[in-house]
Subunit: 397 residues, 2 copies
DNA sequence: TGTAGTAGGTCAAAGGTCCT
DNA sequence: GAGGACCTTTGACCTACTAC
């Protein structure tokens, strides 16, 4: 820590641009409490202020001495990361894994500091063995698998963009309308189409036989709906937020719907919020759910199994060696499956009672009923098929 | 952290910025502002101190262990200064603030000792905030984790012994009889009672509130049945082996039953055989399934969640760092849950069709129907309850 | 051949631990 | 609870290797 580093350094840089915005926001919000009006506080000589992102440690906001292990950081965080990785340290947080990591407090919780190192982009592979050098610098594509975090994150981002065009979300949570049964069905339909869009952005999916593509899309679509609504609802306690900007309160007028909403909040939102799940982790989980090798009628189950294997190894990496975290995330899949089934049952009931008019897409994907060619039509999968009989090339954008 | 300040900093006139004005330091402050004795303004020159400079504590003349907080000092004075500053101690001198501070008498007046620390050049700014705990030394008993592999293996072994007494198994697989619906129900009942025996052998289970014990036993009993039959059937390809020595072939006379058997073989036995699952891993998985924190109506869900966490960390350890193995094992839980549900549905159907006479224990544990006191009666959980109203001690052997 | 960038290493002086 | 002998961690500063 150099002398010039003061609290005022915090003013100078837009941290959110250098860090994954999904996790530390809370901490940074806290930090920003003081410095919003910089001009009025002290007119610092420009020379003392870090000019670029590169001069600030993305872990603790101390002055950075360069890029280390993949993240711009100070010597302290650099040394801390190296020691932690070399000695294979397993720290535990004495609090609730939400400790603030800044220049002053960085030594107060090693668990949270190490987590922040990983999240800022430090990679343990970059720490070398004692007394030896890595020969090839640019060896970035580590691993056997073809799936990569970046592909998954891009697929996610692309789909979100796509969704933003379709249905813009309002800002004020209190202004949102409570969903009726019809709104829920609309949202589900919309989200299922987004799932197809998402899948199309994964090259490994596109290389599968067309029948397997359809099978996978149908197999766990309900879980994907629940997963999506869970992610969207992470900030809330009493409501879940649908993709079409409607909300479902836990104590709403539709008993059956609210029951599912309550389970989503209790069994999924709550634990995931406590874990403070990252975007990468979410992307991996979605992929793990998607590539379901037990899906009935699969032509290439071993390929799907291999893809799921890659995805779970990616998730393991994404959890940054935090003791128990990988397991806790995978264990979310059980309640996810359970809640998804309850949702499907509710939908079925609603249809029987005549409360909901179930679209043929919902019928095929969620209720598992064959409606001739629905999925193929909606997704454009059938077109190339007409062209050549044994089509198995990537089709889509 | 670079300590740019030198001993000479004490000469600076702005005492208020370096000294806490609230208590003892204020007096020292005053001493400097109105110097009664001029020596006290500047740190004692090393030459005036007894013996050689670096090896002697400038406060008490004990052997120094280095420079601490700006003054060459012994560990005692170092620790004393840190504690005093951290805790903001305000000492007072019982005499006339002229106490001798040497190795023998340094503990006789804390006021004079602290004053001498400051005068020797120690600066309170050099004392940092509290850090994270190290706990590398004594605390290997990792306080939280009570669950251990050996307890789980013993519970397993004990239950198997118990089972061997009840129903001995024949050796020749070809000699075994094909199970009818009644045999299946008998086997399930027997296995459920064994599940209770197993649970009783886990002290952490016995320490739970009695209602939670009952809830956990009911919650995932179907999965435990499937898990048991999976393990028993690991050597086979075309049949599953029940606990009462009957078998179910995948192509048997009972279509509904065989369908479940086929899924068990395909989705559970096959992948677990490929992984060559060990006893320890199996024991952990069983425990993970058992301690289900989302189980409805739990009094102590956090305790159950902690136990499951311990179990999954144990499983992680049991996989011996083999890349991807832990994830593959946890991902078995999805088909396990799915197959278990299908089994329950089949059972329900069989009961409705009058094919099976479902015992009240099965009814309560598998079908989730409340049959007054069945579980409590069968498992002996009610006896102590009758004895005292608010019973919550471990009951069983 | 130099220089920027980022690995690796060192050790004084912080920290914490735990028995007395 | 405080003292202090003893051990761990931190981080400022340094060297070394590689790519341009």
């Amino acid at each position: 820590m150099k002398l010039s580093g003061t609290v005022l350094d915090l003013n100078s840089t837009d941290y959110s641009s250098t860090l994954d915005p999904s996790y530390t926001m809370l901490e940074f919000d806290n930090l920003r409490v003081f410095p919003i009006d910089t001009e009025s506080v002290i007119p610092d000589p420009p020379s003392l202020l870090p000019q670029t992102n590169g001069t600030v440690c993305s872990i603790c906001a101390d002055r950075a001495t360069g890029k280390h292990y993949g993240a711009s950081s100070c010597d302290g965080c650099k040394g801390f990361f190296r020691r932690s990785v070399r000695k294979n340290h397993a720290y535990t947080c004495r609090f609730s894994r939400q400790c603030v990591v800044d220049k002053d407090k960085r030594n107060q919780c090693r668990y949270c500091r190490l987590r922040k190192c990983f999240r800022a982009g430090m990679r343990k592979e970059a720490v070398q063995n004692e007394r030896d050098r890595i020969s090839s610098r640019r060896g970035e594509g580590h691993g056997l698998g073809t799936l990569s975090i970046s592909v998954l994150l891009q697929a996610e981002a692309g789909t979100h963009q796509f969704a933003a065009l379709t249905s813009p979300m309002s800002c004020d949570i209190n202004a949102k309308k409570i969903a009726g049964v019809g709104d829920v069905c609309d949202s589900m339909k919309q989200q299922l189409l987004l799932l197809v869009e998402w899948a199309k952005r994964i090259p490994e999916f596109c290389s599968l036989p067309v029948d397997d593509r359809v099978s996978l899309l149908r197999a766990h679509s309900a879980e994907h709906l629940i997963l999506g609504v869970t992610r969207r609802s992470l900030p809330y306690n009493e409501i879940i937020l649908l993709g079409n900007d409607f909300v479902i309160p836990v104590s709403g007028p539709e008993i059956e719907i609210s029951r599912v909403a309550a389970r989503i909040l209790e069994e999924l939102v709550k634990p995931l919020r406590e874990l403070d799940i990252t975007d990468s982790e979410f992307a991996c989980i979605k992929t793990i759910v998607f590539f379901a090798p037990d899906c009935p009628g699969l032509e290439a189950p071993q390929t799907v199994r291999r893809l799921r294997f890659q995805a779970q190894v990616l998730l393991d990496q994404a959890t940054c060696e935090q003791r128990g975290r990988f397991g806790e995330l995978l264990l979310i899949l059980s309640p996810l499956q359970s809640v998804a089934w309850q949702m499907v049952e509710s939908l079925q009931l609603a249809r029987i009672l005549g409360e909901a008019s179930v679209d043929s897409l919902l019928q095929e994907m969620l209720l598992g009923e064959r409606v001739a060619g629905t999925l193929e039509q909606r997704t454009g999968f059938d077109q190339p098929r007409r062209l050549h009989k044994s089509f198995d090339q990537p089709i889509l954008v």
